[in-house]
Amino acid sequence: MFAYAIRRLLVAVPTLFVIITLAFFLMRLAPGGPFDSDRVLPPAIEKNIMAHYNLDLPLWQQYLKYLGGLVQGDFGPSFRVRDFSVAELIMSGFPASLQIGGTAILLAVMIGVSLGAFAALRQNSLTDYSVMGVAMVGIAVPNFVMAPLLTLVLGVYLSWLPVAGWGGGAFANKVLPIVALALPQIAYISRLTRGSMVEVLNANFVRTARAKGLREQLVVVRHALKGALLPVVSYLGPATAAVITGSVVIETIFDIPGIGRYFIQGALSRDYTLVMGVMIFYAVLIMVLNLVVDLLYAVLDPKVRYT
């Protein structure tokens, strides 16, 4: 397994290279440039700016320059934000995203798995339907509705929690964003858990275990749940990466200094280097988390072997 992990990490390097190359050229195909705005720049000034950012070079030279910088750990300057480099922006934004996203995903796994298992054990009963129904609210009410609703009720009307802002990372400021971020995840995870749990509960080895007279609790926890978690774990890899790299909607509504906004803002304003930087960061996270998921598979299911 260790060798497998090493091999995967080695494969990651060319994968990353492919991603960078594809993204670099794809992005330049999109219409509009980083300096298009309602103020047209006089030709002389535009020329100065293009030269300043090397945008006047042929594309392949820009690409090589960018790669050269990357090798030295330089993500380049942002095209829009002047006073911070891309690396500084990511480093200052990631802790906030990680705190909010990490907590949300943990919360979602705990609540989601419990709800899902609970519902599965009472399959097709009223309890099952109501638990799943409540969980579905997290999906059926999109977060751009849920988040303003939460702030309106808990922040403006009841004044229990701050409406928005980071507050230097105060706990009160994190509650609502975490809840808003966790709700849909709870829904997804509980549904996945319930689905595969129902399946596993009907599987032969669980039936046998039950027939052998093992205690119900033990059957559920040791055998059923473990098997049922496979699809959940599959889902968690990319979901975790997506959640801890921040959600643009949540960050905008709650004014959280995460990196989720950089991607969309960067893409909209054609801030090529910022988008590339966030994307590379995200790609590395995805690959690491997917590796973790694959290794977890082997732990959860002895039939999955890596050689």
């Binding site: 794809l26 992005m27 999906i139 996945l192």
Partner: protein
């Protein structure tokens, strides 16, 4: 190891024999599930309303009523759901929105289902180097900026609502592929598969006859999760100006418009959101019903 030792040969044979009755059986089970049946009826009603939208309201979907801008439900003028910020009837717009959202939801999910299930099953079943390569490709796709992908499609092929389906489906299949691959990895070690393999059944046949039916459970559950995701992503794309263009609309667009004025004009949020929620619930219960009905171990 707690495993039954039922003859794998016999099991494989049984499935061959019962090939047709599997689906008949599933249908009977599905129709026995009350929640699923009610959901199908509800979805049917919404779909029929969407199709008949022009005949259900006296108002065209794009008519601007200058005297009735952003007004609450008003039965005198037949604005049952009120009007939007441009004085257009919200009832008929909600139904037109249903057309776009339901189509996006179903078609994009189908695209993602076909690609994802096939891809995941092949990767998981074949394994080894091929699996590795295929999954790295998924990694690449995951990390590529989805938005540029969509923008590019629009730029290259022009604006077309069907492109949204393709773009969304082409992005949403990734997680599906991972889930199917994971399931396949564990199913393929099962005795009846190994037996079928030893018995000389071709790989393609094994994948489609044995692997896929056995991984359908989580796939269907995930599918019912994909539908809402796709419907909401569509609203984001439309918001960027790449999806449906005014005066056409979708639920996602109506809801994001309504969310902005939820305090002042709650009806603008309530009605489209209600339709979306009911639809998603219905899909969800149908999904559960289907899953139960198709569960091979339950038969």
């Amino acid at each position: 190891m707690i495993h039954t030792t039922a003859s794998a040969d016999a099991m494989a044979g049984m499935e061959e024999l019962e090939g047709r009755s599997l689906w008949q059986d599933a249908r009977i089970r599905l129709f026995r599930n009350k929640a699923a049946v009610v959901s199908m009826v509800v979805l049917g009603i919404i779909a029929v309303m969407a199709v008949l939208a022009p005949y259900l309201s006296p108002h065209p979907y794009d008519e601007v009523y200058w005297e009735r801008i952003q007004m609450g439900p008003d039965f005198e003028n037949a604005h049952w759901f009120g009007t939007d910020g441009n004085g257009r009837d919200l009832f008929v717009r909600t139904l037109y929105g249903a057309r776009v959202s339901l189509m996006v939801g179903i078609l994009a999910t189908t695209v993602s289902l076909i690609i994802g299930v096939t891809y995941g099953a092949v990767a998981g079943y074949v394994g080894g180097r091929v699996d590795n390569l295929m999954m790295r490709f998924v990694d690449v796709m995951y990390s590529l900026p989805f938005m540029f992908f969509v923008i590019l499609l629009m730029v290259i092929f022009g604006r077309n609502i069907f492109l949204i389906f393709i773009a969304l489906g082409a992005v949403e299949w990734l997680t599906m592929a991972r889930i199917v691959r994971g399931q396949t990895l564990s199913v393929k070690r099962k005795e009846f598969i190994e037996a079928a393999h030893a018995g000389g059944v071709s790989s393609v046949k094994i994948i489609f006859r044995h692997i896929i039916p056995n991984v359908l459970g989580p796939v269907i559950v995930y599918m019912t999760l994909t539908i809402p995701q796709v419907i909401l992503t569509e609203s984001f794309i439309s918001f960027l100006g790449l999806g449906v263009q005014e005066p056409l609309t979708s639920w996602g667009v109506l809801i994001s418009e309504g969310a902005r004025v939820m305090e002042q004009s709650p009806w603008m949020l309530m009605f489209p959101a209600l339709f979306l929620a009911v639809t998603l619930f219905a899909f969800n219960f149908i999904g559960d019903g289907l899953r139960d009905a198709l569960d091979p171990k339950d038969r």
